[in-house]
Amino acid sequence: MCIFFSFASQYFLRVDNLLTIAMQTAITAITAYGMTFVIISAAVDLSIGSTIAVTGVVMAMLVKAGMPIWSAIIICIAIGSLIGALNGFLVSKMLLPPFIATLGSQMALRGLSLVITDARPVYVDNSPQFKLLAQTKLFSIIPIPVLYMLVLGLVAAFILRKVVIGRNIFAVGSNEEAARLSGINTVKVRIFAYLFSGCMAAIAGILLASRVNSGQPTIGVGYEANAIAAAVIGGASMRGGHGSISGTILGAFIMGVLMNGLNLMNVSQNWQVFATGLVVIFAVYIDKIRRANSES
């Protein structure tokens, strides 16, 4: 795909364009890390887009009210994590189907973000530092969101592979009953997966708010779909038990490259959505065949 685009557009392979792709991918990748945790646990989190909106507007409101940026960040991440933990509680303790529980919280949180802002964007006009959170460039070339994406990716991969609770997510996702019988606290594991997803969504929300210097109550609609697409393109299985952060980041980049390349070729937005859909279907099918071969 990259080869195709580098022929189709002379600008595709330029360093600044590649960095732009990385920046455009950052939000999808960060939210997809969290989604990967949840998908591996054989569940889904549809509330990501709304969590982005809620944390983004709260962030903008706090900064606008004069709170120091670092305390506002901590509060927003705490809110995101709490939302995630609540989702996890609904799914694991109250035994609601993940689709329904998080669809409910998606709607409730969207409503909440409209209510607390009175449905208007919160424009941060009194803190020049606020937009530096997402608009700074490292060594005056690498956009800072790219760095966040990489660092958070490493953290997420570390948790999944090296930390007990991360590895237990795989066990719960493959066979919850077996996991429980082998002494894993499945409730705790599920809550943790959702908590991590909410935390990632909060970070994405803060970054987006900073990038546009305002809290937008309507932002993030449908972002959970992008996160799911990135995770499944990267090999995560909706049945649970499979998935990796490296795969997810690859999936996010495939979507980012596709969109950037088509933009450079002036392909209409409508066809881009169509193309992304085909990629998802194609990638998941390839993955299925590969898995069938390796099992037989």
């Binding site: 600008y11 600044d16 208007r120 990038r211 305002s214 932002i219 449908g222 002036n266 937005q269």
Partner: protein, 323 residues
């Protein structure tokens, strides 16, 4: 027992809501007063709040009773239909509506008209001959104004691109097409790179703007056709330090977009006059009940906001009516 408690609690909550509703009605209602029921598309954003203010102001000025409501989301057609039915039951003389769907609301409107309620539409049209007039921004004319501004900023030459919000919505599309059509006819030296739509997604708008500049390093101008796309274009121009090098005409003057105007990222903003939309709708409603014949279209006008005229009283009245 627990269930019982919850049920009682819910019932009490409902009762409180009802009490709040009736209290409002009692204070607003007076016998023989003309009643205009206004149903908007949405309650969110400064635009609709300003429409509401315009309508309420007209209500006070003209001595008629005006209620304003809107469905929760811009896709909840069913809720809007219920609002129409309720307005008829509440005894509205005139129903002023901005429909969510050009066809879906037709039966409800027809039933209301059959009961003698006069119909006026505003902002978005309905596929029916019933409305006595349609009060709206002429979006094509708004696009023309933007095209003219961009053409003059660029001195009639160079590449430009248009960033639109929602391709499927005629109001939005007319702005893009009006601008492009005017430029084609009046500034033959300018070349259109593309018209792209963002689904009104801020983040998508950022990516598209940035990629358009990458693919066309010699691009000289942008027209963005609503608030979200204007924030997208201006943010990228600021990030890429292209302020002044690429001219930008935006749409919808809000706190944030006017901020871009004062920091010289955006050169001009075409803006609607939502206050007029609310005010003129109620005005037309009153005229309709007096049996006056109305023009099929009532244009609420647009204005071009620039750094030079930003602080003039006329422009401030348009962009800050809520203050």
């Amino acid at each position: 027992m627990k269930k019982m408690t919850i049920t009682i609690a819910l019932l009490m909550a409902v009762q409180v809501l009802f009490a709040a509703g009736t209290a409002e009605q009692k204070s607003a209602a007076a016998p023989d007063q003309l009643y205009v029921a206004m149903i908007m598309k949405s309650y969110s954003g400064d635009f609709w709040k300003t429409v509401e203010l315009g309508a309420k102001t007209a209500g006070t000025d003209l001595g008629v009773r005006v209620t304003v409501e809107a469905p929760d989301t811009e896709t909840n057609i069913e809720q809007q239909i219920k609002m129409v039915e309720t307005a008829v039951i509440k005894g509205a003389n005139i129903l002023a509506i901005s429909v969510l769907d050009t066809k879906g609301l037709v039966p409800a409107i027809e039933q209301a008209a059959a009961k003698g309620v006069k119909i006026i539409t505003f902002n978005s049209m309905i596929d029916s001959p019933l409305p006595l007039t349609h009060v709206a921004t002429d979006n094509w004319a708004a696009g023309v104004l933007a095209g003219k501004a961009l053409g003059e900023l660029l001195g009639g030459k160079g590449k430009y691109a248009v960033l639109g919000a929602v391709e499927g919505v005629k109001n939005n599309r007319d702005r893009s097409d009006g601008a492009v059509d005017y430029i084609k006819k009046n500034f033959p030296g300018m070349q259109l790179v593309t018209i792209q739509y963002t689904d009104n997604d801020l983040n998508k708008g950022l990516a598209i703007t940035s990629d358009l500049i990458t693919a066309n390093p010699d691009i000289a101008g942008f027209f963005s056709n609503n608030e979200t796309t204007t924030i997208s274009v201006a943010t990228v121009l600021e990030e890429k330090k292209l302020i002044g090098k690429i001219k930008h005409v935006g749409f919808d003057a809000t706190n944030q977009t006017v901020g871009f105007l004062t920091s010289k990222v955006t050169n001009a903003i075409v803006t609607q006059v939502p206050f007029n939309m609310g005010y003129m709708t109620v005005q037309r409603a009153v005229e309709a009940t007096k049996g006056e014949s109305l023009d099929k279209i009532t244009d609420t006008g647009v204005a071009l906001v620039t750094l030079e005229n930003l602080n003039s009283e006329k422009v401030q009245k348009i962009i800050n009516p809520l203050k």
